[in-house]
Amino acid sequence: MAECHPVGFQWVMEAKSRGATVIHVDPRFTRTSALADMHVPLRAGTDIAFLGGIVNHVIQNERYFRDYLVAYTNAATIINENFADTEDLDGVFSGLDRENRKYDFHTWMYEGMEVQAASGSRDQEYQDRTGNGSSVSEAARGESHGSGGAAIGGEPETDPDLLHTRCVFQILKRHYARYTPEMVEEICGVPRDLFLRVCEALTANSGRDRTSAFVYSVGWTQHTVGVQYIRTAAILQLLLGNIGRPGGGIMALRGHASIQGSTDIPTLFNLLPGYIPMPHAHEHEDLDGFVQGEAPDKGFWAEMKSYTVSLLKAWFGPAARPDNDFCFDYLPRLTGSHSTYETVMAQMEGRCKGYFIVGENPAVGSANARMQRLGMANLDWLVVRDFSLIESATWWKDGPEIETGELRTGDIATEVFFFPAAAHTEKNGSFTNTQRMLQWHHAATEPDGDARSDLWFYFHLGRIIREKLAGSTDPMDRPVLDVTWDYPTEGPVDEPSADAILAEINGRDAEGRPLASYEQLRDDGSTTCGCWIYCGVYADGVNQAARRKPGGQQNWVANEWGWAWPANRRILYNRASADPDGRPWSEAKALVWWDPDQGRWTGHDIPDFSADKEPSYSPPDGARGAAALAGADPFVMQADGKGWLFVPAGLTDGPLPAHYEPQDSPFPNALYRQQRNPVRQVFSRRHNRYQPSGDEPGSDVFPYVTTTYRLTEHHTAGGMSRWLPYLSELQPEMFCEVSPELATERGLEHMGWATIVTARSAIEARVLVTERMTPLRVQGRTLHQIGLPYHWGPNGYSAGDAANELASISLDPNVHIQEVKAFSADIRPGRRPRGPALTALVEEYQRRAGITEKTGTEV
């Protein structure tokens, strides 16, 4: 966190100065470790084993917060009898369809109640819930399980004593029983005493009077089991009662400013604004069918139709009418996964012809960078918007494949357009941070030359396209002609007003007045709202995100600085900060509470709960939406109002996290016979070969574990830093970090060169030998890890090889993120070969390891 989020780290230091214990778990001793109370080195890619070990410790030693656990989580909920755990099936869950590499989630359901997920793969249940055909790509699964499915709605069976063998708590207990301290040591290389010190520190600082927080970044997400890493932390925090309470929670630190904002109002293929799922291509699907298929009946997601209709009204204005389903048919439909990596595959196969790259540098920053470039080399056209001529804009003339002779500039037909981009200091807009808080920034200066904001680019692109299509009678053009595109522009370059767009996102009532809350949204077309969770950011016609009232002039929650969704609540699900009767769990940790005199929820923060719903409220039969949740159900977005230890729906790879080895790992899975996540996404291609793992022959060709990361001095793939002298001079060259022991083993010299090799490619780096890299004892042998910053590429003021040349494309099945935080590799002294000799070196390694197109693709 100190490395990549130094500004946010000030609060960790503040907490430390007030007595907090800071524990840093990381393969490397970093700038964060330097300031932590404890650094726990572990083998990259084994965090589920580590966290699972803590879960086991908490359960075995009864260190959980029982009152919280029973009342607020699904610990007491009973799972249907068809569920089989990894304990029963040696590492996989019931419902695995090995042929199609998919799970059927039906056996994971609660006993007596079907629940819809609040996020994740909500289309899973479309068929069950509508009786209609399912998504084209999901058809296979639908057929294999018929149309039976669990009953919709109902109340789940529970055992508040947590003793029923099929209650979540007991399943959890059995599931993690094998995650012992010994097993943690064996898998992660974390010494037992260190592990137990972490357990003790965490449990001693959790409960009624104290809370602990988790902070993670892409070190947890970028794995073939990335989502389940976070899930394990969620389980732990729910067991310890650390969710919805001050000082608790799980903080996701994002890779860029406003990554949170770009998922809220998404640049993702499978989401509409406010986490409304993108419709799949079902036959004859209308708006009601969509809502019925994707939305739960209880909790705030039950109002999905109001959110969707208001969105369609914001987008299509008067053209969206009840009689045309509010233009629901204008929305594109998904026919499967269209993630960035599948897009690359489609480019290589000639199915994707054009590509926009905006503020990204996939030729350096995405896994298997060569595949990215080969994909782009197969396009008709490519648009790059960035500050500088990044590698993704120039690969066709000076990329690594030109050097190796794999590509010739004259043969590349891609037409490349480069547009200079304005910086954030040159435009108005908002950043949404990890706390879901929007903070407005004002342009300090006009952009130089032809540089323009993205807002300008897309607004004027849309305007010109609409002008060209004006008068068209082709129905295909209707969505473009009907879209509301009337933003006021200002200044010398006709910059669209960001303020006006924020007002549109906030939404208006039938009279055009700004809305104050998403609870005002209606499904009859009388309200507009560009993103329902942002409703209220422009309440009273005021840009609430631009508020900057100093912390000293308000209470410690500081609700008057910026604006956080939903409804300016700073801690999500904060009803959980009070006990089931509505009283704070403790004075020290009071946040919101029930005021019986006023008959309202009140407190330091804005309650994330229906303001006047009594703690004793019990929903009447047939209630739906928020009214269907009880007065002691804090997790208001969840269909059962509970925090989910066990996930009955929404995940593609299992209801509970289990440790699986990374795609390319030098170790066998010590916990199960199942080596890897059975439903991870793999793409066996000529340029994307996987490596033998564990005990397989050839695994020893790649004996070390590599992890990639960022340095404080640079930003991601370097587009914002490698062109700047002031940043380049601080970290001028690509380097690798190795321990003195590995340096001796492989003959590497401090400040010399090393070549790092995988089945994909080989790169060179200067060698930094440091005791901050420590050898680990894993499964009876010494393991060395290699640290690789991933900022460099061939262009820029500071240039070097890109670490992502080495990584394979192997993805988490839930969110399609690449596994670049842990993969096996070899390292050797000296610089890498140039030209065709580089390809020959990689091929030699492939031969030595016996790599074929089948290697590593097993379920």
Partner: protein, 307 residues
């Protein structure tokens, strides 16, 4: 077996062996030349006046000419070494007794014109009264010009310079005397070279003794004079000065050739001393041990506060 190379653990005494102080940016030959020429000029002015007053025109004329030439060159060297030579006149913007360079600038501002007039009148024979007055003035300021440069370099944080601040002025004037005497031997007719010979020999002897004493007295920083280029300059200086001293004592009275050779040896020996001192300063600035170890020692000797 070789130790594995790695990010070196910073030893207690330094940060990756980096110098603590910044190395002087003064360049050779500008600054050692300036130190040398200032000495030669200052002592020559005094020698010139003495020769004039004692009726040795054959010694007076070249001594005054040498003083003027050396003064002019030294000024040029100083200006040339400035980062912004065009702003040299800023030296006379203020008078700061805390800045030896400011004092020196004013000194030179007074001395150089006098040395020029002194030499000009001596060579041309014009305006003898003015010449005598100028020569007297130059002879009065000359020794200060010769000695102030010792303060100039000693008043720094450079250990090999600062730690020698008690000896450096004496070393510098000795060296100046040796140079001026040497030049007198070289330029004056045999019968008029007596004072130059005596001055040169006395200067040479002082130079040898003081260089030795200074190196010994300054402790750790003295090592800079025993290493590298500084060591070579100092030893060469020693050899030349000894040779000049012996030559002057043995033959300069009788042989013009011996006078010329021994005079040249003294001149060169004096120059080499300045180069040696200059190089020693750069070397000790580069070595953190020269800064840290004596300071550590000083701290160790100092009674602990309250104890």
């Amino acid at each position: 077996m070789r130790e594995p190379v790695m990010v070196p653990e910073a030893e207690f005494r330094s940060y990756y062996g980096k110098p603590v102080i910044n190395e002087p940016v003064w360049q050779s030959p500008d600054i050692p030349g300036y130190l040398y020429l200032g000495g030669l000029a200052g002592a020559s002015s005094a020698l010139g006046l003495g020769a004039q007053l004692t009726g040795r025109p054959g010694l007076a004329r070249p001594a005054k000419a040498a003083a003027a030439a050396a003064a002019g060159l030294s000024l040029a060297a100083l200006v040339h070494d400035l980062g912004r030579p065009g702003r040299f006149y800023n030296m006379l913007r203020v008078f700061k007794p805390t800045s030896p360079m400011s004092v020196g600038s004013w000194l030179l501002a007074g001395y150089v014109p006098l040395a020029f007039v002194s030499a000009g009148t001596a060579v041309t024979g014009l305006m003898p009264a003015v010449g005598t007055a100028a020569s007297a003035g130059a002879a009065l300021l000359g020794p200060a010009v010769a000695s102030y440069t010792a303060v100039l370099i000693s008043d720094t944080a450079v250990p090999a310079w600062h730690e020698g601040h008690r000896h450096m002025p004496y070393l510098f004037v000795s060296s100046a005397a040796s140079a001026a005497g040497g030049f007198g031997l070289l330029a004056a007719p045999r019968r008029q070279n007596g004072p130059a010979r005596r001055l040169g020999m006395a200067g040479a002897a002082g130079e040898l003794l003081l260089a030795n004493a200074m190196e010994k007295q300054m402790g750790m920083a003295g090592r800079a004079y025993k290493e590298g280029r500084a060591h070579r300059w100092m030893r060469a200086s020693e050899a030349l000065t000894v040779a000049g001293l012996l030559g002057a004592g043995a033959g300069a009275r009788r042989s013009r050739l011996a006078a010329v050779v021994s005079g040249a040896a003294l001149l060169a020996g004096s120059a080499f001393t300045r180069w040696g001192v200059f190089e020693a300063g750069l070397q000790s600035a580069r070595d953190p041990a020269h800064t840290v170890i004596p300071q550590r020692e000083r701290l160790r000797r100092r009674p602990a506060p309250g104890g």
